[in-house]
């Protein structure tokens, strides 16, 4: 369906990367009448043919557990991807750790993402104005809100009007109903609320009502199957069941897969001409040209491309007069606390799968305390909560494997089946000078393209945040009468390595000032206006609110402007 091997130059816009930002850009441009060539480094992918929705653990190798070949498990949607990709290395500075996730498939990470889709709030777009740290966006929430609305219309989500500070709700009529909370979620809510911590209906890009469409009809969730496998019924959003088929149906989209872009080719100092790419199957190099180029290869891959595209006019990397390309690298802060709740043992068994994601979650709530300087970290976090009746798997051991056999063991395993709760902290990381990516002068990938070298150090902001999260989750677990599974962790030991949450961003940030930012408010490079960035690299800041919805909304907004400019004769 997608694998048209067009090498022509008759396109208005080239998009590099078919993930969240690139696919949305293709959708926005093609429906505005623009001809698009979309280049994807990975292979073509069709969830309707390839996702094993109801495949059982015992039918998969090793009961489906993660391996180096499939880090999130056998049935996970990710193809040819992971923190390590054969032939595509990266390096890290001595004694530093950063893990760089890549996805090499049509639709990119949208095939496997968590699908938690909070909107950034008014505070999130103006962080410097609020606490004097980092940089304000060149946009306000009110400017972005209409783009959130239309993005949510096409993506589809469940959500409720929670009415919380700095957590904008969708206007009426957009969000589908949130599935009913499960026992462990209600228990967490009761305990959290008792401690003054909110616990409210979540927002996920998962349909709970059918979404009819002539081209890309999508069905409501049927409450089984992990969403990370991809969703052949289209309930859980992924580009390959939604915006990509919709863009294809306009007749204005050409997709070339297995196209590893190596550099942006320039027409003149301030004008991009197109890109060069390597066909991953043949090793042959192609050059394609267009009126404009959009980089949406994922934050780090996009900044790698810009740095590798340096030339005499742009000696520090393309459009990098500010020196900010590759800088301000952030991930979402990750932390984890688990609990064993005796009160949940031996409870009546029912179908507790529900949708695969949390029906309730704990949003950030201490804005007032932060404004008053009462906390030792400046930004927020949230908890994605988990639990439920989970079958014992091959890694069962320790407290989950009582030291008895026979009937006693059977009884104990049944009693314990639903006794666990999980609190996954997701927090805002503030950009710092120690976290960045640059080109490693000594290492190249299998196509000869220079690779990235990462530098990474958490600041006290993030360590203190995780400690606060540990204290909070432990208090909730204790209030439920439970015991904490990782009682000796500290903020420093518990924080996940950089890159682990797979929310990289900031490496070509938007701003008001060409001296301190790479992109203007319409995602255009200050120095090369027909070169745009439509992935996480654009993020001026990376609030704890998972970035994908914002990436998609701003990609659409940028492309709406680009389409209008092209139609008016710009970049001809």
């Amino acid at each position: 369906m997608f694998d048209k091997a067009a090498r022509s130059t008759g396109h208005d816009v080239i998009i590099v990367g078919s993930g969240a930002g690139g696919s949305m850009a293709a959708y926005a441009l093609t429906r505005a009448g623009i001809n698009v060539l979309l280049l994807e480094a990975g292979r073509s992918y069709d969830p309707q043919a390839e996702v094993n929705m109801l495949g059982q653990e015992h039918e998969a190798p090793l009961r489906g557990v993660g391996t180096p070949d499939k880090p999130f498990g056998y049935y996970d949607a990710t193809i040819d991807g992971g923190w390590q990709v054969p032939g595509e290395p990266y390096t890290t500075a001595k004694d530093e750790k950063f893990e760089w996730w890549r996805s090499r498939m049509l639709g990119g990470r949208t095939n496997h993402w968590g699908r938690h889709v909070p909107r950034f709030g008014p505070y999130d777009f103006k962080p410097f104005s609020r606490d004097g740290i980092g940089m304000d966006w060149p946009l306000s929430y009110d400017e972005v809100a209409p783009w959130y609305d239309r993005t949510e219309e096409i993506v589809g989500l469940w959500g409720a009007p929670n009415g919380l500070e700095n957590h904008p709700d969708s206007p009426p009529g957009i969000a589908h109903p949130v599935p009913k909370p499960r026992v462990y979620e209600l228990l967490i809510k009761a305990a959290a609320n008792d401690l003054g911590v909110p616990c409210v209906p979540s927002r996920y890009a998962i349909l709970t009502k059918d979404k009819p469409d002539d081209v890309a009809p999508r069905n409501a969730c049927y409450y089984t199957s992990p969403c990370g496998r991809g969703c052949s019924i289209g309930a859980a959003y992924q580009a390959t069941t939604s915006v990509l088929p919709l863009a294809m149906a306009t007749g204005r989209l050409t997709v070339v897969t297995d196209a590893m872009v190596s550099k942006v080719v320039m027409k003149s100092k301030h004008k991009a001409d197109g890109v060069e790419y390597v066909d991953r199957k043949t090793g042959q190099t192609y050059k394609v040209t267009a009126k404009a180029v959009i980089l949406a290869a994922s934050a780090c891959e996009t900044s790698r491309l810009m740095l590798n595209s340096r030339n005499d006019d742009h000696p520090n990397g393309l459009a990098n007069g500010s020196g900010q390309v590759g800088r301000n690298l952030v991930d979402t802060v990750g932390g984890y606390t688990g609990g064993i709740i005796p009160g949940l043992e031996g409870r009546p068994i029912y179908n507790e799968e529900g949708a695969d994601q949390a029906h309730l979650y704990i949003p950030w709530w201490l804005y007032k305390e932060q404004a008053e300087g009462k906390l030792n970290f400046a930004r927020g976090y949230h908890f994605e909560i988990g639990g439920g009746f989970r079958l014992p798997g091959p890694w069962t051991g320790g407290a989950d494997l009582p030291k008895v056999n026979g009937a006693d063991l059977r009884a104990a395993m049944k009693r314990k089946m639903g006794n666990r709760v999980h609190f996954s902290l997701r927090g805002e990381m503030i950009p710092n000078k120690d976290c960045y990516a640059e080109i490693d002068p000594n290492v190249r990938d299998k196509w000869g393209i220079p690779v990235l070298k990462f530098h990474w150090k958490w600041s006290d902001q993030e360590i203190n945040m995780v400690q606060h999260g540990l204290d909070t989750a432990r208090a909730i677990i204790k209030r439920m009468g439970g015991t904490v599974v990782n009682p000796n962790d500290t903020g420093e030991s518990n924080i996940r390595p950089g890159g682990f949450i797979i929310h990289e961003g900031g490496t070509a940030r938007m701003g008001d000032d060409p001296k301190t930012s790479v992109l203007d408010a319409y995602n255009r490079c200050w120095e090369v206006p027909n070169l745009l960035v439509a992935d996480g690299a654009m993020l001026t800041s990376n609030p704890h609110k998972n970035p994908t919805l914002t990436i998609m909304a701003l990609a659409w907004r940028a492309c709406d402007k680009l389409a209008a400019d092209i139609k008016q004769g710009a970049f001809a």
Binding site: A49, E50, N52, L54, G55, Q56, E57, P61, L62, R63, V65, T67, D69, K70, Y74, Y75, I79, D80, G82, P179, K180, P181, R182, V183, L186, L187, K189, A190, A191, N193, D194, C199, Y222, Y223, T224, G343, R347, P348, I349, N351, G354, F389, L391, P392, G393, P394, T396, G397, L401, K403, N405, G406, A407, L409, R410, M413, K414, M417, R479, G481
Partner: protein
């Protein structure tokens, strides 16, 4: 590939018959790989077990190139790697499977559903993460045979039920005598594999009462019975039912 384990097993048995290793098992278990098993200082050996039979320490390499690759056919899953266990090894594991999870009214025993097939796939995995379990299980099976041969003249799989039970009882001791630290670590891990392998089978899911993997139009939420239980728990914790 069963010859490998048989060959190493035989080689070790030959060595064990003639010499007590110079380095005691406990000394070799120091460090990161030491199993988390409580030790009993100075306890006497359980009847019928020979403390002079030391841990074999067979190692097998990791070879991730034998894995299923980064783009396997998800609709037709297969584990492509060669299996390591002999028929007799698998017989031994199924005997142990039925001692850990015997058949009862809720379902068949773990050995009855050939749990050894899963354990073989797992310990034969070419990936790093399973290498520790491979070492434990291959050494553990060799150790079981050595103990059984010494006591009965037959390998574990061919020994009588009383021998099986006696050895399993010894491996379940808590704390264990020094010489059983490694074997008990093996057995603890094997129990995890038996339990995890069993409850992910359709028979195991039915036995534990799991409900799920059933497409439905609307998610009904907790059953009335589950809500009643939650209300009781909340009352016990002095928490209101959340609005």
């Amino acid at each position: 590939m069963t010859t490998l384990s048989r060959r190493t097993t035989l080689a070790w048995l030959a060595a064990a018959a003639t010499a007590i290793p110079a380095v005691p098992a406990v000394a070799r278990s120091e460090g990161a790989t030491a199993p988390a098993v409580a030790r009993s200082e100075g306890a006497t050996a359980p009847a019928g077990l020979n403390p002079q039979i030391a841990w074999p320490d067979i190692e097998l390499p990791v070879n991730a190139a034998l894995g299923y690759g980064t783009d396997p056919d998800l609709m037709n899953p297969i584990a492509p790697w060669p299996l390591r266990l002999s028929a007799e090894n698998r017989e031994a594991i199924n005997i142990l499977g039925n001692l850990v999870l015997p058949p009862d009214e809720s379902g068949p025993g773990a050995g009855d559903v050939d749990i050894a097939a899963f354990v073989d796939e797992w310990i034969s995995s070419p990936y790093e993460a399973q290498a520790g379990d491979r070492r434990k299980v291959l050494n553990g099976l060799a150790w079981l045979d050595a103990q059984s041969l010494e006591a009965t003249g037959k390998p574990f799989a061919k020994a009588d039920a009383a021998t099986h039970a006696r050895i399993v009882d010894a491996l379940m001791l808590d704390p264990v005598p020094e010489f059983l630290v490694e074997p008990a670590g093996f057995f603890g891990r094997l129990r995890g594999l038996i339990v995890g392998g069993y409850y992910t089978l359709p028979e195991g899911k039915a036995a534990i009462g799991f409900q799920g993997n059933t497409p439905m139009k609307d998610y009904p939420g907790p059953s009335d019975e589950a809500v009643e239980h939650l209300k009781g728990l909340l009352k016990h914790l002095n928490l209101p039912y959340p609005a």
